[in-house]
């Protein structure tokens, strides 16, 4: 089941059209991606999220044709990637930069020469390339590390070099494959902030592959959830966060609390999500007072999504069925998103990571 984003993306820069990818070896075939259709708008910071093994890294590699889709197509700026000759594809890739989890810098070149590398590929004169690389490195905050080698830099600094390198040929699109997964939380925040600045300053469309909901809530405006090689749902981050429509979505939203998503035990669980204007009223406390019956707060957290505070709670309601129905009604009337977690048990069993 896939739930397609209802609101229109006006200016699509990447159109993924019924894309499937199967890997086959002698003995068996694995369907990594299955019939994915998605639009990524110009200027978006688009998150593609899923558990490990969901197929998201394969999907991002299909966007620049490092992996060729088995069927379907990717249309970038109106051009079908599958109809490009090898040479045209290489030219197209100058416009689609990529950064990686393991940075992938040239270990035997210093920082400046690493950033010059893509400019060598496009044939920019050396002097001009060095000037540009120096400027980009200053922009990512490494103006004093030009002569350092990657082995002398921290992970965060290496990713900054990779970002400067990715920007060298002024791409329209930047693909980030788990770019912050190897970094600590503080450095992750800094690198994400840098990506956001780049998005705003250069107008580059950024596609972020991640398994961490916190990355999505921190900088993405849109998100697609990939589950088992299929598109589970996609939409604006606020909407998906407030009202996940798929089970994979719910799982990810509940894991967004930060530290670890402890297993939520018990029955009669509901998840409520606060919208921006409902946070002021002590809704839960008022509900308890009104019905004279306590509820169990299993967990609660608040995320900052695009500058707006979004809270969520998991509540355990009383056993009385009528009371439960009334409580839910009360919460909905207060403008909260309410979802039953009766199916929670099913996916809790498979729910181990993050």
């Amino acid at each position: 089941m896939s739930i397609i984003d209802k609101d229109e993306i006006l200016d699509s820069i990447i159109h993924i059209d019924h894309l499937s990818k199967t890997f086959s070896s002698k003995d068996h075939t694995v369907e990594a991606l299955s019939d994915i259709s998605l639009d990524i708008g110009k200027g978006d910071i688009f998150g593609i999220i899923g558990m490990s093994g969901a197929g998201k890294s394969t999907l991002v590699r299909c966007l620049n044709f490092l992996e060729k889709p088995s069927s379907g197509d990717v249309i970038v700026k109106g051009r079908s990637m599958s109809h490009l000759s090898p040479k045209e594809l290489r030219l197209q890739r100058h416009d689609i930069a990529m950064i990686f989890q393991s940075f992938n810098l040239l270990q035997q070149r210093n920082v400046l020469d690493n950033v010059c590398f893509p400019l060598e590929i496009t044939g920019v004169p050396k002097k001009q390339a060095r000037l540009k690389a120096t400027r980009l490195l200053a922009e990512v905050g490494l103006g004093d590390k030009l002569k350092s080698y990657p082995s002398q830099l921290s992970g965060g600094q290496q990713q900054r070099v990779a970002i400067a390198r990715a920007l060298a040929n002024d791409p329209s699109i930047l693909l980030c494959d788990e770019a912050t997964s190897a970094l600590d939380p503080k450095t992750t925040g800094e690198v994400l902030q840098l990506l956001k600045e780049i998005n705003e300053k250069h107008g580059i469309t950024i596609v972020i592959i991640t398994h961490a909901m916190s990355v999505v809530t921190q900088i993405c405006n849109r998100v697609a959830i990939i589950d088992n090689g299929r598109l589970a749902e996609s939409g604006k981050v606020q909407e998906v966060f407030s009202n996940p429509r798929s089970e994979a979505g719910m799982r990810l939203v509940l894991s967004a609390g930060g530290s670890t998503a402890e297993r939520v035990p018990g029955e009669h669980l509901i998840r409520i999500a606060f919208t921006s204007n409902s946070s002021y009223e002590p809704v839960v406390a008022n509900m308890v007072l009104k019905f004279g019956s306590p509820v169990n707060i299993m967990r609660a957290d608040t995320r900052d999504i695009g500058g707006i505070a979004r809270g969520q709670m998991v509540l355990q309601l009383p056993d009385d069925e009528e009371l439960r129905a009334n409580m839910k009604k009360y919460l909905i009337e207060r403008g909260l998103e309410v979802q039953d977690l009766s199916s929670m048990k099913d996916f809790e069993d498979n729910y181990e990571e993050n």
Partner: protein, 223 residues
């Protein structure tokens, strides 16, 4: 002692020169053939950048066949070819031919394994930038594998030095030839020992220099 040097000094010195000449020229020529072969193996291998089963299998089998022929036998086997090329089958120049034929496939394998050490991620990054396979080979794989390639060259030099001494048994020239002619046929144990010492010294120098160079050019370890 000085009598010994008067008699054999210039002979040993000259033949050290001949050995160095044979080894360096052979290594150079063998690399000229071995590097493209090694690159070819890497590119055309299954899962390589330009997979091609036919080319890969031809290269793979050829390299294996030549490598499995012992040097001394190869040297005799290709004598007609050597004669065709340099006009005779003895002396330093004639020894270079089998040395190159024997070392090139061995070098191809070492180049192949050095290039395969380069991380897949770096190559993928270069591909994502729109680099051609050619650019990836000479701007990513070879520079990144630099240290490993230099260490490989050190091993190749020592091996070729050993082979060149073997060629002495059939009049190949150089220190091996001296060891056979004087040390073995004329029972000059002193000459034999000195040639061995010189051969050991040459290997040591090459090894030390190669390792030092490889390390000096390696930026993976922060200094």
């Amino acid at each position: 002692m000085s009598e010994f040097w008067n008699e054999y000094g210039s002979l040993l010195l000259n033949n050290t020169g001949v050995t160095l000449y044979m080894v360096l020229v052979s290594t150079l020529l063998a690399y000229i053939i071995g590097i493209p072969l090694g690159i070819g193996l890497v590119l055309t291998a299954p899962g390589g950048m330009k997979p091609n089963a036919v080319i890969y299998n031809v290269l793979d089998v050829t390299v294996n066949i030549v490598r499995s022929i012992p040097f001394l036998i190869l040297l005799i086997l290709i004598m007609p070819f050597t004669k065709l090329l340099v006009g005779k089958t003895y002396g330093a120049n004639a020894t270079i031919v089998p040395l190159v034929v024997s070392a090139a496939p061995f070098i191809a394998r070492m180049v192949e394994s050095s290039l395969l050490e380069v991380g897949h991620g770096v190559i993928e990054a270069a591909q994502s930038m729109g680099a051609s396979s050619f650019t990836i080979v000479y701007k990513v794989m070879i520079p990144e594998a630099r240290t490993s390639l230099i260490v490989g060259a050190t091993i190749a030099l020592a091996t070729i030095l050993g082979y060149s001494a073997m060629a002495g048994t059939v009049g190949g020239g150089g220190l091996g030839d001296v060891a056979i002619q004087y040390g073995y046929y004329r029972y000059q144990t002193g000459v034999m020992i000195i040639t061995v010492v010189l051969l050991v010294a040459l290997v040591q120098i090459m090894q030390a220099a190669g390792m030092k160079l490889g390390k000096a050019l390696d930026h993976r370890i922060s200094k």
